[in-house]
């Protein structure tokens, strides 16, 4: 199977600090791929390079065999990469529906078509009843789902999720996991997620990459990775091993 996303030898330095160090991995079509690691491991930097916020200092990033590094965030989104923000960024004065319509308009020219598509996405994410509310008035779990709804409405081939579980209660986490699983199964949506909540990673991911000090220290199936000595030492700690 060909890789949808391939990250080849990618590096990023901030002055003296090497945030990401010659990283290599591939995400196949239809995969759920998780990137985990301690704070400061370079996960968000990696994420921002894929999303086009930063340009890598070295290496290449390719989406379906086309180079995307160096493109701007909006160009990358138009190529089919949808993203969420770790700290949610809704358009506060717009309605919930308005937020999603904006995203749906990317590949639709009529507002009526975009509204119909936004309605479908909002129904999927249990936000349809709140569509007329202002986004600024939503609770955190709702905002997290709105963030996801907005990314989905751009019709992405690859969905990038930056800690969508952070700040959610366990029941909310399970709800989010169920939604993501459904998206992955029903439409074969490829998902790359950065996550600290291991409960969600174990339930969702088919493959896991563990980063530490900007480099990959392990990659594999979730249950293999959590038994890896280096991973336990640097990130998980002995007691979390199931």
């Amino acid at each position: 199977m060909s890789a949808l996303l391939s990250v080849n030898n990618v590096s990023k330095r901030f002055r003296g600090l090497v945030a990401v160090d010659r990283l290599n991995f591939q995400v196949n079509q239809g995969d759920v791929f998780a990137v985990i690691g301690p704070n400061g491991a370079g996960k968000t930097t990696l994420f921002n390079m894929i999303a086009g916020v930063f340009s890598p200092d070295g290496g290449t990033i390719a989406l379906a065999d086309q180079r995307i590094n160096g493109l701007s965030p909006d160009q990358i989104c138009r190529r089919g990469v949808g993203r969420t923000f770790q700290i949610v960024r809704p358009f506060p004065a717009l309605s919930v529906e308005g937020n999603v319509i904006v995203a749906a308009l990317l590949h639709r020219h009529l507002v009526a078509d975009a509204r119909a598509h936004a309605g479908e996405v909002l129904r999927q994410l249990d936000l349809y009843d709140k569509r007329a509310q202002r986004a600024s008035g939503l609770t955190l779990p709702d905002r997290k789902r709105l963030e996801l709804a907005r990314a989905l409405a751009t019709d992405p081939k690859l969905l990038l999720l930056d800690e969508v579980m952070a700040g959610l209660r366990p029941t909310e986490t399970d709800r989010m996991v169920a939604i993501l699983k459904q998206l992955n199964r029903s439409r074969g949506l490829t998902i790359l997620l950065i996550e600290h909540v291991m409960r969600a990673v174990m339930a969702l991911a088919g493959r896991v990459l563990v980063m530490h000090h900007g480099a990959a220290i392990a990659e594999g199936a979730p249950d293999e990775v959590v038994r890896d000595r280096a991973v336990i030492d640097s990130y998980l700690g002995a007691e979390t091993v199931v």
Binding site: A51, S72, P73, D74, C77, R78, G82, R83, F85, R89, P90, F91, P92, A93, L94, S95, G98, I101, V102, A103, L105, L106, H109, L110, V111, A114, A132, R150, A151, A153, T154
Partner: protein, 334 residues
């Protein structure tokens, strides 16, 4: 097109609007020339407020130099008419072209180099000041001595050359305001309008959903500039004189942002309501002082200052959104 225009306007509001519009249509039969000039001023501010609101209210880009478009529009059409006998209707196209070019340059420089917020506002002031000083020394159009359009006593109004009585300018300004409201209504409900609002709310998030923010911000500047230049054409033919010190001054730029701020940024009726309230009240005040026989220089400016202070502290969203809620209308004020 028409369907989209009225589709989401509630019936009561449509009725109120129609009545209001009819009253404005018949006003000249009952009003004297003084009242007409006040109304013309109100429409001038409602129109320019609408144009400025596209940038500030829709896309969140603060321009404090819109006088540049007023001045460029006015001078272009006035020169074409006085020197070459070209009708202001045709001159308007040249005026818009020049304003679009100027707006594109300002927008390109600002957005290409990520000049935002206060710095963007300062850049717009700087361009207006360049123009003011430039035109002061531009002797072909009179330099600092000013440029005058030919005036004679007209027994009849000539719409083609815009030479005539206040009543003609009244209908012209009314028409321009209505056209601006319709255009803004169509834009804000369209794809462009959604993208603009997204950029206003959070530019980085807007980029993340695939919006080319540079392009859409530039589009807003260019449309706003073109619309404002038409107000400049109107200004030139209504007052028949242009002085760089006056037409490009920061006062021109500031006075046209008062109505939308007072009435409600980002709304369609905010600039109109703001223009009616501010200009109407200020003129009443002036008339009252004249009747009392006292002369208070600068009273109008103090009045504007107090009004703005009150609105910013008590009703930061502007008068129209507040009124909208008080009227018990549902949804978002437009």
């Amino acid at each position: 097109m028409i369907g989209r225009l009225v589709a989401d306007v509630p019936r009561r509001a449509a009725l109120a609007l129609s009545v209001f519009f009819l009253v404005l249509l018949v006003v000249p039969w009952f009003a004297n020339d003084y009242l007409l000039t006040v109304l013309i001023l109100i429409f001038y501010f409602a129109y320019t407020g609408q144009a400025w609101n596209i940038m500030m209210g829709f896309v969140g880009q603060l321009s404090l130099g819109h006088a540049i478009y007023i001045g460029l529009g006015g001078y272009t059409a006035a020169v074409l008419f006085s020197y070459f006998g070209i009708s202001p209707w045709l001159g308007s196209f040249a005026a818009m072209l020049l304003a679009v070019l100027c707006g594109a340059i300002i927008g390109f420089l600002a957005f290409r180099f990520r000049v935002a917020g206060v710095y963007f506002a300062i850049l717009t002031i700087a361009f207006a000041e360049f123009a003011r000083i430039g035109f002061d020394h531009f002797t072909y159009v009179g330099g600092s001595a000013g440029f005058f359009l030919p005036v004679s006593n007209y027994s009849q109004s000539d719409l083609w050359t815009l030479r005539g009585k206040p009543i003609m300018f009244y209908y012209l300004s009314l028409g321009m305001t209505v056209a601006a409201v319709i255009l803004c209504h169509l834009m804000i409900g369209s794809r462009i309008g959604y993208f603009w609002q997204a950029i206003r709310e959070d530019e980085e998030a807007a980029r993340a959903v695939g919006i080319d923010t540079f392009r859409y911000k530039l589009l807003a500047v260019v449309i706003s500039a073109a619309m404002t230049s038409l107000a400049g054409v109107f200004f030139a033919f209504y007052y028949n004189n242009l002085f760089p010190e006056e037409v490009f001054s920061i006062n021109r730029s500031i006075e046209l942002i008062l109505a939308p701020i007072f009435g409600g940024l980002g709304t369609l009726f905010g600039p109109i309501l703001g223009a009616f309230l501010l200009t109407g009240l200020a003129e009443t005040l002036t008339a009252a002082w004249a009747a009392l026989g006292v002369d208070v220089p600068g009273a109008k400016q103090v009045f504007y200052g107090i009004c703005l202070l009150l609105v910013i502290t008590v009703l930061p969203d502007g008068v129209w959104p507040w009124l909208y809620r008080r009227l018990g209308l549902a949804g978002r004020p437009e």
